[in-house]
């Protein structure tokens, strides 16, 4: 068992498609929360093989895309300082701030290093005691345990030259905000599998109950995505609204308790602005009092940041599922992966990048029969 090829088995994929066609009798709109799921869907053409009644609305689960513009601009201001080594995940370097990006800061002499893990940033801090080493700690509940562990180790080792610019976001409050929006068309959610590996899925049960919406914990391989859709349609057709776990090999109801314990030691909940969506109450994590001395936003007084979004970028509407990427007038013209206007075209998990990279320039129906 390698847990990859088995969940791409074409015969089983055909079987699941067949079953989904069999059980779908009415139009249903469901949202896959995670950008990784969006890319699996578009790359494998899953949306085009589903019954036409089923619409997949791409969710806001792309950490790069939703990181607030103010935070990007703060990162740019910190990274430009001479005595700073700024460490970040790769795809954050091309996210447009108000007027430039981290790559531009790097080209003007900023010491910016791409790391695979926050623990790598600790190594940079140990190797450069005379420099201030800052790690860009963004992401959802899946990434937060890694950043929390790095902070715990840094404190234990007394790494005084290490700090973190933290901008974590949480899925449940975002689902609640989406369901409360009058323009929301979502009837079921495919929950982000690896967020649930960490947090479990008990937090979604009150949401399914309150908003009468099925929530199915879903993985990322083709069979996993189809399994999530299959169980969501079964519920919708039977007017049920429960939380179901369609990714049981990687998710248990209570989640990863050791990870949750460390995160509680380091973070506290806060209101968070989501880029393109706006302020969502209690939807973020920030460093708590015990770790505030390692908060780069405080350690580096970068002052009040005046932000300026691109006037024609509609990534906010894409993130809320109001439009599909190719319905944006700038898509593929002023806005391409090499000259992105918004973060959803930059990120390897952004819906606009998925549509561009996998050639989704026009509606499926308009493609020559």
């Amino acid at each position: 068992m390698k847990y990859l090829t088995e969940f791409r088995n074409n015969d089983l994929v055909q079987k699941l498609f067949h079953e989904i066609h069999q059980i779908t009798t009415r139009p249903w709109a469901m949202m896959e929360v995670c950008g990784g799921q969006t890319h699996s869907i578009i790359r494998n053409g899953i949306d085009q093989l589903l019954p036409p009644e089923i619409e997949l609305i791409h969710g806001p689960g792309c950490p790069v895309c939703v990181t607030p513009l103010e935070t990007i601009d703060k990162a740019l201001a910190i990274a430009a300082q001479p005595n700073v080594i700024f460490c970040s995940f790769g795809d954050m370097l091309r996210v447009p701030g108000s007027d430039h990006d981290l790559f531009a800061v790097k080209s003007q002499g900023g010491d910016i290093r791409i790391v695979y893990s926050p623990l790598d940033a600790l190594k940079v801090a140990r190797d450069n005691p005379d420099k201030q080493v800052v790690f860009f700690g963004i992401g959802f509940e899946t990434t937060a345990p890694a950043n929390a562990q790095a902070l715990v180790v840094a404190k234990k080792q007394g790494l005084k030259n290490f700090s973190m610019l933290v901008s974590h976001v949480l899925v449940p409050p975002a689902i609640e905000a989406l369901m409360q929006s009058p323009t929301c068309r979502v009837q079921a959610f495919l929950a982000a599998g690896h967020v649930c590996s960490v947090m479990g899925y008990w937090q979604y049960e009150p949401l399914a109950e309150k908003y009468h919406v099925p929530i199915v914990v879903t993985g990322f391989e083709p069979l996993d995505v189809l399994n999530g859709i299959y169980h969501a349609v079964l519920q919708l057709e039977a007017s049920r609204h429960e939380v179901e776990n369609a990714y049981s090999r990687a998710v248990q109801r209570e989640g990863n308790l050791p990870a949750q314990k460390v995160m509680q030691e380091v973070f506290e909940v806060c209101d968070r602005k989501w880029r393109g969506i706006g302020m969502i109450p209690q939807s973020g994590w920030q460093l708590n009092a015990a770790y505030r001395d390692m908060d780069a936003a405080i350690r580096f007084q970068v002052g009040d940041i005046r932000t300026q979004e691109s006037s024609i970028c509609r990534s906010g509407d894409v993130l809320q599922g109001l439009i599909k990427p190719h319905q944006c007038p700038a898509f593929g013209k002023e806005c391409t992966p090499s000259k992105p206007l918004g973060a959803t075209m930059v990120s390897s998990e952004g819906a606009c990048a998925a549509y561009y990279n996998y050639g989704r320039f026009i509606e499926h129906e308009q493609v020559a029969p």
Binding site: Y3, L4, C34, P145, H194, V198
Partner: protein
């Protein structure tokens, strides 16, 4: 958001008080923090995200899921075999 990749634990050790290990991703072996999967041992598969194992993969559940897929539609095949193109 949370691109996690399954890999097999090849070695477990401690580094400066932190549980670490070597994990094999289809031939590429990387150092991974195993602090969050204290129950995982050599030979187990885990999902790894930004260098951290976030869960141990449960083989029984995986096999059960695959079996469910296999059995899908078997009932239809018996009840009305002709509807299958």
């Amino acid at each position: 958001m949370c691109l996690g990749v399954p890999g097999q634990i090849k070695e477990v050790y401690e580094l400066e008080g932190v549980r670490m290990g070597k994990v094999n991703f289809g031939g590429i072996v990387k150092e991974v923090c195993l602090e969050y999967v204290p129950e995982a041992v050599v030979g187990d598969y885990t999902i790894v995200h930004v260098g951290f194992a976030i869960t141990r993969l449960d083989e029984a559940s995986a096999l059960e899921t695959l079996k469910m897929f296999e059995e899908l539609g078997v009932l239809d095949e018996e009840l009305n075999p002709e509807h299958l193109e």
